[in-house]
C-alpha cells in the first residue's frame, strides 16, 4: 500500500469515528443515565449502578398507564389501520386499470406532505369536535391514520407492483374468487412489505407528540410522549434521572418490534419476491 492510500484510509477512519460518536453519544446517555442516581446531560458512567429511578417510575401510575396502555393502544391501532387500509388501497390502485392512476398516487403523496402537520391542526380539531372524538383514543388514531396513509399507500404500492400478476391470474383461473386470491395469494406474498409498513406506522404513531397533545384532554388517556412532562418539576426543570429511565422504557418496544420483524422478514423498503418468502 502506498503512502497516499494509507493517508486516505486514516482520513476515512477519522471521519467515520466522528460521525459515529456524534450519533452514538445520545444513545450512550440513554443507556447510562437511567442507572445513575445523579444524571446530568453529560454522558458519565455511573459510579454506583442503581435501579431506583425505575422504581420511581413504576410508582407513578399515570406514567405507567401512559406508556403501557395508552401509547400501545394508540400506536397499535394506528399500525393496524394504516397497514390494513394502505394494503387494500395500494392493491386497488395497482391492480385496477383506472386512467391516470399513477398521477393520482403521486398527487396523494404530494398533497399530504403539503397540507399535513400544524397547518391542519385547527380544521382537524374542529372536525374531531363535531364528530365528538375529542379526548378519545379513536380521535388520535384516526388523525394519525389519515396522516400516515398517503405515504403508507405509496410505500405499499411498490410492493404490490413487484408482485407478478400471473400469481393472481393463475389463482383466478384455478377457480378462486377475487377475495380468495387476495387472502391466499396476494396477502402472504405481500406480508414482508406489510410488516415493514406496520413497523413504520407504529414508530410514527409511537413518537407522535402534537396530535395526542391536542386531542387528548384527560390525563388518564395521555400517551407516553405527552406523559413524559410529568417528570418535570413544578418549576419546569426536567428531572433527568426519571426522564432518562422513562425514555429507555419508552424506546424498548420499538426496538423489540424492529428486531422481531427484521429477524422474521428482513427489512426492505422496496418490493420484490424473495424465493419462498421465508
Amino acid at each position: 500500500m502506498d503512502v497516499k492510500a494509507i493517508f486516505y484510509k486514516i482520513i476515512f477512519v477519522i471521519f467515520v469515528v466522528l460521525i459515529t460518536s456524534f450519533f452514538l453519544l445520545p444513545i450512550l446517555w440513554l443507556v447510562a443515565a437511567p442507572f445513575s442516581a445523579q444524571a446530568t446531560l453529560r454522558v458519565t458512567i455511573p459510579s454506583v449502578v442503581t435501579v431506583k429511578n425505575f422504581c420511581a417510575i413504576f410508582r407513578n401510575t399515570f406514567a405507567v398507564r401512559a406508556l403501557f396502555l395508552n401509547s400501545i393502544l394508540i400506536a397499535g391501532g394506528t399500525m393496524f389501520g394504516v397497514t390494513l387500509f394502505a394494503t387494500l388501497a395500494a392493491y386497488a390502485i395497482s391492480r385496477l386499470n383506472i386512467r391516470g392512476r399513477d398521477i393520482f398516487a403521486y398527487l396523494l403523496v404530494l398533497f399530504s406532505s403539503v397540507v399535513t402537520g400544524t397547518a391542519a391542526m385547527v380544521p382537524v380539531f374542529l372536525l374531531l369536535y363535531y364528530l365528538k372524538l375529542i379526548d378519545s383514543y379513536l380521535g388520535v388514531i384516526f388523525v394519525l391514520i389519515g396522516g400516515l396513509l398517503p405515504t403508507g399507500i405509496f410505500l405499499m404500492r411498490d410492493f404490490v407492483e413487484s408482485l407478478p400478476k400471473s400469481y393472481e391470474e393463475s389463482a383466478l383461473v384455478s377457480g378462486a374468487h377475487p377475495w380468495q386470491v387476495f387472502r391466499d395469494v396476494a396477502i402472504p406474498i405481500l406480508r414482508p412489505g406489510m410488516m415493514v409498513l406496520a413497523v413504520w406506522a407504529f414508530v410514527q404513531a409511537w413518537g407522535d407528540f402534537l396530535i395526542p397533545l391536542i386531542v387528548i384532554r384527560s390525563p388518564s388517556k395521555m400517551p407516553a410522549p405527552v406523559a413524559i412532562y410529568s417528570f418535570y418539576t413544578e418549576g419546569g426543570t426536567p428531572v433527568l434521572t426519571l426522564i432518562s429511565a422513562y425514555s429507555l422504557l419508552y424506546a424498548i418496544p420499538v426496538v423489540i418490534l424492529y428486531l422481531l420483524v427484521n429477524w422474521r422478514y428482513g427489512f426492505r423498503f422496496f418490493g420484490g419476491i424473495k424465493g419462498g418468502g421465508k
Binding site: P164, S166, Y167, E169, S170, A171, L172, V173, S174, G175, A176, H177, Q180, D184, V185, P188, I189, I273, G275, G276, G277, K278
Partner: protein, 364 residues
C-alpha cells in the same frame, strides 16, 4: 339470436382492442373435444391475448366464446372451469408444491382428505410425489413445470390452456417436456389450447394449428397441411425447420403458362396464368432442393455462404442475390462444394405466391 356451436371450444369473431391497438382481430376458431390445438405466431401477434380471452383474464371488445355449448363470454375466470399453465408457471412462492397443487380443489371447497388423496394421485402420475413438501424455489425448473401442470389437471378442467410453458426450460428438458405433455394430453383427453411461437413445438405436439399474424388467424390446419399447403407467404416462411425459402421476382404471361424471373434465372410454369407482368415470390422447402456443382446445369445460381453439419444432415446457407437460401442435404459427410453452385428443385415441388403473398401454386 345466437347459434350454439357444435364444437367444444368455439370463438366467434373475437376482437380485443387495447386503446387503438387491435390485439385480436375477429378471430373465429372451432376446436373439437379432446383435440390438442396450437396457436402459433410470432411474438406480439395476439396469440397470448386470445388465450387470456378464453381464460377470462381479458374481456373481449366484441365476439363470443363458447365452452361445451355454454356461452362463457361474460363469465369471470373462476366460473369457466378451465385451467391454465403460465409461462412463468406462477407457482405460489409461499406454498409447498402440495399446497400449490391442492389449491384449485381447496377453493372449490373439497374436503381435506379428498384433496390430499387427489394431490398424491396426480403427483404420483407426474413423478413429483417425493418433492411435494418443498417450496417452488427449492425444486428445478422441470419439476416446477410438472407441478404447474399438476395444479392445472388436478380438478379435471374442461379446457387446458398453455401459455408458452416450455420457453423457460433448456433445450434438452424442452424436448422431454414436449413428449410428456403430448402423452399426458392424449391420456387425459382434455381439450387443449397451446400458445407458442416455436413452430417446431406446434408441429410436434398439436393435432391442429392455428397460425396468427397481426391479430388475425391466417390459417388453421393439421401440421402437415400447414407444411404442405401454406395459404400465404407468411405461413410458409414461418413453418418448417428451417422455414421455406422465399425468393422475390416477377411473373409474366407466356404462351401456355407464365414465366418467373428471379436473380439470374427464369422458370416456366405451365399451369399458371397471369394477366400481366406482376411481382411474385418463388418458394421451396430447404429439404426438397438439390445442389448442382456444374454451372452449366439449369437452376438458381447461388453463392456458398456457410456449411453446417448437423449429424444426420448438412445445412447449407447460400446467397441468391441478397436473399439467404437454406438447403438441407441428407448426408453425413461434408460435401465438397465450389463457391458458385446451382440450386435445383423439382418443378412439381415449387410454390408460387402472388404480389399480395397469397399462394397461387402448391406442389401436386
Amino acid at each position: 339470436m345466437t347459434i350454439v356451436p357444435q364444437s367444444f371450444l368455439s370463438l366467434q369473431d373475437l376482437t380485443k382492442a387495447f386503446g387503438k391497438v387491435i390485439a385480436v382481430d375477429k378471430v373465429s376458431l372451432h376446436i373439437e373435444k379432446g383435440k390438442f390445438f396450437a396457436l402459433l405466431g410470432p411474438s406480439g401477434c395476439g396469440k397470448t391475448t386470445t388465450l387470456r380471452l378464453v381464460a377470462g383474464l381479458e374481456k373481449p371488445s366484441s365476439g363470443r366464446i363458447f365452452i361445451d355449448g355454454r356461452d362463457v363470454t361474460a363469465l369471470p375466470p373462476q366460473k369457466r372451469d378451465v385451467a391454465m399453465v403460465f409461462q412463468d408457471y406462477a407457482l405460489y412462492p409461499h406454498m409447498t408444491l402440495r399446497q400449490n397443487i391442492g389449491y384449485p380443489l381447496k377453493v372449490r371447497g373439497f374436503p381435506k382428505k379428498s384433496i390430499a388423496t387427489r394431490v398424491e394421485e396426480v403427483a404420483e402420475h407426474l413423478m413429483i410425489a417425493d418433492i411435494l413438501d418443498r417450496l417452488p424455489s427449492q425444486v428445478s425448473g422441470g419439476q416446477q413445470q410438472r407441478a404447474a401442470v399438476a395444479r392445472a389437471i388436478v380438478h379435471a378442467p374442461k379446457i387446458f390452456l398453455f401459455d408458452e410453458p416450455l420457453s423457460n426450460l433448456d433445450a434438452k428438458l424442452r424436448l422431454e417436456a414436449r413428449a410428456f405433455l403430448k402423452h399426458l394430453q392424449k391420456e387425459l383427453g382434455i381439450t387443449t389450447v397451446y400458445v407458442t411461437h416455436d413452430q417446431a413445438e406446434a408441429m410436434a405436439m398439436a393435432d391442429e394449428i392455428g397460425v396468427m399474424f397481426a391479430g388475425r388467424v391466417v390459417q388453421v390446419g393439421s401440421p402437415l397441411e400447414l407444411y404442405r399447403y401454406p395459404k400465404n407467404r407468411d405461413v410458409a416462411a414461418f413453418i418448417g425447420n428451417p422455414p421455406m425459402n422465399i425468393l422475390p421476382g416477377r411473373l409474366e404471361p407466356k404462351a401456355g403458362g407464365s414465366q418467373f424471373s428471379g436473380e439470374g434465372y427464369t422458370l416456366f410454369f405451365e399451369s399458371i396464368h397471369v394477366l400481366e407482368d406482376t411481382r411474385a415470390y418463388l418458394g421451396f422447402r430447404p429439404e426438397q432442393a438439390q445442389l448442382m456443382c456444374d454451372l452449366k446445369d439449369s437452376g438458381i445460381p447461388a453463392q456458398l455462404y456457410a456449411v453446417q453439419p448437423l449429424g444426420s444432415e448438412v445445412l447449407i446457407t447460400l446467397l441468391v442475390g441478397t436473399e439467404t437460401v437454406y438447403v438441407k442435404l441428407y448426408s453425413e459427410s461434408l460435401p465438397a462444394l465450389p463457391d458458385l453452385v446451382r440450386v435445383k428443385v423439382d418443378p412439381s415441388r415449387l410454390y408460387l405466391f402472388d404480389s399480395t403473398g397469397a399462394c397461387i401454386k402448391v406442389p401436386k
